[in-house]
Subunit: 233 residues, 2 copies
Amino acid sequence: MLQATERPGEGRRAVILVSGGLDSTTVLAMARTQGYECFTLSFDYGQRHRAELVVAERASALLGDVEHKIVTLNLDSIGGSALTDPAIAVPEEATPGIPVTYVPARNTVFLSIALGWAEVLQAHDIFIGVNAVDYSGYPDCRPAYIAAFEAMANLATRAGVEGKRLTIHTPLMQLSKADIIALGLGLGVDYALTVSCYQATDTGLACGRCDSCRLRREGFLQAGVADPTRYRP
Amino acid sequence: MLQATERPGEGRRAVILVSGGLDSTTVLAMARTQGYECFTLSFDYGQRHRAELVVAERASALLGDVEHKIVTLNLDSIGGSALTDPAIAVPEEATPGIPVTYVPARNTVFLSIALGWAEVLQAHDIFIGVNAVDYSGYPDCRPAYIAAFEAMANLATRAGVEGKRLTIHTPLMQLSKADIIALGLGLGVDYALTVSCYQATDTGLACGRCDSCRLRREGFLQAGVADPTRYRP
């Protein structure tokens, strides 16, 4: 099913951040197609949509990951986001500026732990599904941020001292949601198995109203593909 | 007791990484002296020397922190260090190169979580007790690394988008252990309350033989100060 013309990852290990959502599942399929041995990483960080952990594990196994690890950390003790503080509601309509679903420094924390695992695995490639087109205005999804993280990472570890180069791959950065969907379908991703909703039910049913659901639904519409998402009644 | 000539931190909040050890306790005393409202942060990350958490809490309270938070994350599930993997012994003599007590990406992970908390607190100052003189050869204690982290942090968060500048303070970077001790004593730090040992007992008794104990003992010797450390029999 997976078609490959170039396999730059052949014989290399990579750490892939996966959330069970549309974007990161597509990234995993891309990394596999490029030949990487994929070690997938998810976080139990006190998020309200913990259904994603089960989804991420299942989707990753179906796409042939070598190992899936869940790291637990209580970011909810810091709060400051609708995703980790039950007292802040998830908005169900578009809001100006950086939305309250932004989790302070989340991508930095996740990439840092991925960096640690990559060092233990002697992997020099980390994949993350951030996107600067159809995104929610989060500061830690911008290309300049990723470039700065990569520069820092190359000074942070044993590999950096030894002159080995670590790369943060963001293959979705410049793609629209519709492009991502078309790409993933071409790689055999079954999006019915993915869950993007910020307030999914325990069984993975989506609300259809949060920012993440809206971007996803519009993506299927623009891609001209039937939306396989399971919405709650 | 605390003498201050300049108080650049007056009216400002800061996040201080504290481990209950000699260095970070001195950093906290310095930040307090500079007038910062100090929010102290420790990590329960699966380290073998968990006595440090109790010590850090007590030492921070004595030095007048506003709040002490412990964030839990299971870095031991990643392993790769004598401090988080019980199967790797803590060396009791000097070793060449980066020692096995190095925890992959630890400072990056800790600073990232500090960055998240700083964002919630609307603090723009983070203090960390890294040192490039009497240190153990860890890649994530070097000035170039800290500069790169700061550059990344300024792109990572809401504050960065709004043009507010975040600073990573490393006031010990260029000091010898003896200088740090002399400085801390001048600020009223009681080093008998601090624990630096990588394999301290549950009651905080030091082994006297690990790298961290050796550097600390030599520091007191060079400072011409009696070593108040409680060693195990």
